[in-house]
Symmetry: C2
Subunit: 407 residues, 2 copies
Amino acid sequence: MTAEAILRPVEFHERIIKLQQRMQGQDIAGFLVTQHVDLYYLTGSMQAGMAFIPAAGAAVFYVKRSIERARKESVIPVEPMPSMRVFGTALRERYSSIFGTAAPVKIATEMDVLPAQTFARLAAQLEAAAGHVSLVDGSSLIRQIRMIKSAWEISRIEAAADAVAESLHATVGMLREGMSELELIARIEYEIRIRGHMGMMRTRSYNMEVMTGMLGSGEAAAEPSAFDGPAGGRGLGPAAPQSVSRRAIERNEPILIDVGCCIDGYIIDQTRTAVIGSLPDDMAAAYFHSESLIREAEEMLQPGTSCEVLYDRALKQAADFGLSAHFMGYGADQVRFLGHGIGLEVDEWPVLARGFTAPLETGMVLAVEPKFTFPGRGVVGIENSYLITDKGPRQLTKSPEGLIVLT
Amino acid sequence: MTAEAILRPVEFHERIIKLQQRMQGQDIAGFLVTQHVDLYYLTGSMQAGMAFIPAAGAAVFYVKRSIERARKESVIPVEPMPSMRVFGTALRERYSSIFGTAAPVKIATEMDVLPAQTFARLAAQLEAAAGHVSLVDGSSLIRQIRMIKSAWEISRIEAAADAVAESLHATVGMLREGMSELELIARIEYEIRIRGHMGMMRTRSYNMEVMTGMLGSGEAAAEPSAFDGPAGGRGLGPAAPQSVSRRAIERNEPILIDVGCCIDGYIIDQTRTAVIGSLPDDMAAAYFHSESLIREAEEMLQPGTSCEVLYDRALKQAADFGLSAHFMGYGADQVRFLGHGIGLEVDEWPVLARGFTAPLETGMVLAVEPKFTFPGRGVVGIENSYLITDKGPRQLTKSPEGLIVLT
């Protein structure tokens, strides 16, 4: 960790100020922050409750539990959460300049994650508190601010990168023919856990789950899944239908090790491909093409480049290699992106995909994961995570590149 | 697994029929099932998409990905998910008897988990498809059906119970003074993982997370947290503020091991208390009182008993022991329940708490977890999971009871 990479309370205040500036630009009078990860990002505490951040002026964190812990952690004042029946009244009393007037008022909240039931209750409370309040979707405001990482955030992602690299190094030598995918991931997970992995990987999208990533061998890795990624994996059954199965790893087939971890809330995403023996020629070639794609992407990971241009370029390259049908999944189960933001959640913005025309910016952290799927045979590829800087990309993932070949 | 405990496709159809009967009783014309766990429960597949279940007639699972896998797993027909822009039209064409009339129609969905953003889009689509459609909350319908477990579901919970019991047995001997909480849970997690734990514990409540449970020693276990349970734990920092920390386990303090696992989607919940050396007299007494409370609860775990009566009885007993202030947390951070349903999620119904006046029924599975918190010193207690049967409770957790004493 560099000298600058110390978490200062002012960092949270700076994030709140950024959010307030964006709210002012969109004529939003206040933000009701409800999701635990957003609460942590803005206040320093993810205790249970809701924070109200006015477009101007002092924010407050209404906490249900633990108030004691929230008071130690939060950079903004903590108050006991009023009961939902009087929550609107409590807001009107504290923020009379917002709720006490007859003018129409827009209050934002994270409609991408907040359940409809709670949303409806909050909307009714706000409506009761003041005549003309509408609760609108502010999730993109927070997701946009969260795209740009601070020195401290980057230091945490690097700590996670170290933990994964050490764990892969410690376990890959144990890999042998006949070992099950489940046994291999259990060993890796043990290694990341003792290095401080928090025991889960947070996702933002509804229904999307990541255990510690996706590990799969041979045809099991190539089985498609609900997971919005280039490799699904057979999984342990219909109720855990992704990543590892109990399949025994065999010789001369690709072993895809897309395993991350989470240190102090921050996620690293990394993929390496291994083989016991050697890969069939076409899959060996595809693996080396995945390295070519990531080299090409590195050239383009510059402030100002449009996200979708990176994806289009990769599509073109995959076509040049004659691998379009295998790129990022196969057939109806191909996914349509090359990479994604990472941070407190594994599915952050931006996404390297069509429709993401916004330019890359200094401070963004992205996982870039070119992969090729061969149905019934396996998945090969590589994934690195990068920080965008004025001088180009800085690679955060630490494991050596190249196909991992065991005899 | 007993002979009857085989998963038959008809079981999913029976669940759908139960849901249809409840819908008819509430004048609901159809259920749009959106959550992956509910989709698995009703169709046998948790691939990405939405299922429409009419109050009468044939259901359909609209799948985004993977269609191939959903077709192998789902007991109801699978169709490609239409784009959201025409989803209402697609429903109207298939279910003209519901959407093709001018009469008002209620369609249910899981408003307790569905994000407000998607809810709003679906409501607009249904409104466009037919004039008088309202999208209402049906989450309690599904949660009520899910309370009653089948023989196959119970066999999966028992398999999880076996895995946890074996894992605790395999690791508790490694416990020694100076070992960190993190290292202890890493070893237990390795053991449950190689036995088929799916790598995560699913929760239904917004913002609620369970890694593999809650493990904590001495005063770290007694630190309150956002988690809606009787013990929080210090955690690894403000971004992972529950369960284990890096604290070294010491002699003569309680070590609370509330660790479950998840096999084939089904969760077991179990707590044991350990000590290296001996507990201070008051905490040793409190531990034995927690066993008394669970014995008393067992007497009452009968079909027909009101859930809240169990909680009230436990409160009364805790008061008799002079431990009211320590029961299920301390001070402002006490939680107000004695136990909860478990199954595909760790926070299922019913809850043994005030307001849950419904009677226990045969087939319910509950975790009962009397615990006592001593601020600055530790948490002691026990947790077993039980199946309600006509002949009383059948204990599903397998680890021997009693304080685990290491020298």
